[in-house]
Amino acid sequence: MDLNKEGEKLRGEIRLFLDEHGQLAREKGIGGEEYAQQLYTKIGEKGWLGLGIPEKYGGAGGTFAEFTILQDELLAAAPEPVSTAALLVGIVVPPILAHGGDEIKRRFLPAIAGGKVKVCLGCTEPEAGSDTSNVQTRAVLEGDKYIVNGTKLYNDAYGYDYMLTTVRTDVKAPKEDGISMLLIDLKTPGIEIIPIWMFWTPNYRRNEVHFDDVEVPSANLVGDENRGWHYLVTTLRDYEWVQSGNIAQLHIEENFQLLVDFVKKTKQDGRVLSEFPSIRHTLADLATDIEVAKLFYQYGVWLLSKGVSSGMAPAMAKLYTTGMAQRLYDAMINITGEYGQLERTPAAKKWIPMRGRAAVYYKFVSSWSIAGWSSEMQRDDIASRGLGLPSYL
């Protein structure tokens, strides 16, 4: 597919759909979770979640590059739960496609592509953060079932159907070689989901999930037993990094434009902000920074879409983009000064610049260098896998 021509056509269709759907929902007064769920189902019906999934597994064919067109548009114009759910499709599908057997692909991929089943990712545990191989969640095979016990942190489990989960299946093997990947039905008895409220907005939720003797059919094993960690650091992490680079660009152009408009029209002590040389230069630096970040991201997508080894590109895309986002949002709140500190409340509406983005994003941005594995892990990867430096871990 010619990404330039057909990709733009697809982009246009998605944009139009999101516009019309948003308009319709506003007219009917539908909002919140209900709207998000409806929208997600419709996007599934359109077949767009199946971009990159082969037709024989219920997808639309094509490559990851086409899927990211959907992702870009959702990040720009859809409510957060919708873009996150789609983002997760782009993260969990590649390892299933690359390593799963035919049976598991047939069971899961059409449902995911159709928007009927939502899958989240569960790697992080209390003792396994950056150290993803330190998985303590145990899965013991009994007959045709695994019995799972353990805890997973900071995931999207709430409102999701399945979790792609790393579990320890061999305690004697070296840490990296005793982990498997299971698709766990989150409605199975023995699962408890507890909210972890994050600090940037009142209702942004991550979850702590407890598994207490949870029975999982052995048919839900992805790929081979004890290879799960290797799937994690190859397929999954690459895609997650490219996707996380993408999320760090959430509303980036729009927010940058808001900042440009703000400095053009705002006077401080009688002088328009855009006249200050330091502010002009900051904005010029940021425009450049954003351009570079976009190219890192697009390059990562391009490599992944070719199916060739993506090398350092995903790590670079994520590392650079999260850094850029921090520079942008630091500047955004600092330039808006006293006005930048205002939280979005009805009373503040009159004074709050840039739709209240400055305060919210200043908080939100602090999570991007942690979520999807921390910047130090990307640096490690670039240093060891990319530059060939000996590992110290």
Binding site: G337, E343, K363
Partner: protein, 371 residues
């Protein structure tokens, strides 16, 4: 040679402030003040009065304590570590100094003792839409009547406005001069609307609709330079507060890094983490040097417009980057609302933003350099 030491009395003052805050102002109180939207702990403010903290830099004849800007910086650094919220800066520092410098003997005798006792809250209303510090642009008007003035206009970002007994309100007088009436908080015609901030406290939009005040209820003449000096001195104390915030955040990060094990060892043992924390401690110490250098100059009455501007320019972003680094070292756990590091992250940024925009400080420094 510059004296970096503190007197025995100052060391004792620091210890007593730290002890009192550790004992009576734990993080639960910080959260309670924010969550219940009570603005500050009345109980602890009364203790502050008892301990003499509300008498800082107010002469003993008005009930104050013999003290100087170094003592004040010590208080603010320690208060920063504890994330104390109180009207101290607007009431004791800005209010107290304004009354002391521009007030009549009658006003001093009446208001200063009440301030030191914690009986009244005084606040400072200067900024207006689009006006941060240039008094020639102030639009709030005081129209003269036979026995007083009526005041009309809008002020922004006024701390504790809704609780204040007096708002020192920068207005344009009948002849275009700047006057500083003491507007009673209960005067008719005054409305304040809360604007919630990232720091968890509110700053108010205050509208004056023909608010009447008596002739006697205004401070004496103050020039732009007088007010700049007053405001920038208070900002230096906000910088001391940020140094305390950054130090506390760094301490939390060190503690966490020593406790948290990944890859089979404490993350504090990784060189990248060690270097990051070494840089953070360098940043905090640099900021602290600048703050105490400036308050020493202030205490000795040496002109220091440049140093005050440098302090604001440097300390705000520097301390905020330390707090961000500290948060980063916490990983996921430091991003949940329940973790105290988030309180530091939000508060540090709010204080920086209230220091005024950085171009203003750069301009002052460049001017002082003769550029």
């Amino acid at each position: 040679m510059m004296d970096f030491g503190f007197s025995e009395q100052q060391e004792m003052f620091r210890t007593s402030v730290r002890d009192a805050l550790e004992r009576e102002y734990p993080m639960d109180v910080v959260r309670e003040v924010e969550e219940k939207k009570i603005d500050y702990s009345r109980e602890f403010y009364a203790k502050m009065a008892q301990m003499g903290w509300l008498g800082l830099m107010i002469p003993e004849q008005y009930g104050g304590e013999s003290s100087n800007w170094i003592d004040a910086a010590i208080l603010y650094e320690e208060a920063g570590k504890a994330l104390l919220s109180s009207p101290h800066l607007v009431t004791v520092i800005l209010g107290g100094q304004a009354i002391l410098n521009f007030g009549s003997e009658e006003q001093k005798g009446r208001l200063l003792p009440a301030i030191t006792q914690g009986e009244i809250v005084v606040t400072w209303a200067l900024a207006e839409p689009g006006v941060n510090s240039d008094l020639s642009l102030i639009a709030t008007k005081a129209t003269s009547l036979d026995d007083g003035y009526t005041i009309s206009g809008t002020k922004l970002f006024v701390p504790f406005a809704h609780l204040a007994d007096y708002l020192i309100t920068a207005c344009r007088g009948p002849e275009g001069e700047i006057i500083l009436p003491l507007v009673g908080g209960t005067n008719g015609g005054l409305t304040s609307v809360p604007l919630d901030t990232i720091g968890g406290s509110r700053l108010d939009e205050v509208t004056f609709d023909e608010v009447r005040i008596d002739k006697g209820n205004k401070l004496g003449k103050a020039s732009q330079a007088d007010i700049d000096q007053l405001v920038s001195q208070a900002k230096v104390l906000s910088c001391a507060e940020m140094v305390g915030i950054a130090q506390a955040a760094l301490d939390m990060a060190i503690w966490h890094a020593e406790e948290r094990v990944q890859f089979g060892r404490p993350i504090a043992s990784f060189q990248t983490i060690q270097h990051k924390m070494a840089d953070m401690s360098l940043a905090v110490q640099g900021a602290r040097h600048l703050v105490y250098y400036t308050v020493r100059l202030l205490s000795e009455g040496i002109a220091c417009a440049k140093e005050r501007a440098m302090t604001c320019l440097y300390v705000g972003p520097t301390c905020n980057s330390v707090v961000r680094g500290a948060m980063h070292i916490h990983g996921g756990v430091g991003l949940s609302r329940d973790h105290n590091i988030t309180l530091f992250y939000r508060r540090a940024k709010a204080i920086q933003l209230n220091l005024g925009y950085s171009e203003l400080n750069s301009k002052i420094i460049a001017q002082e350099l003769g550029l």
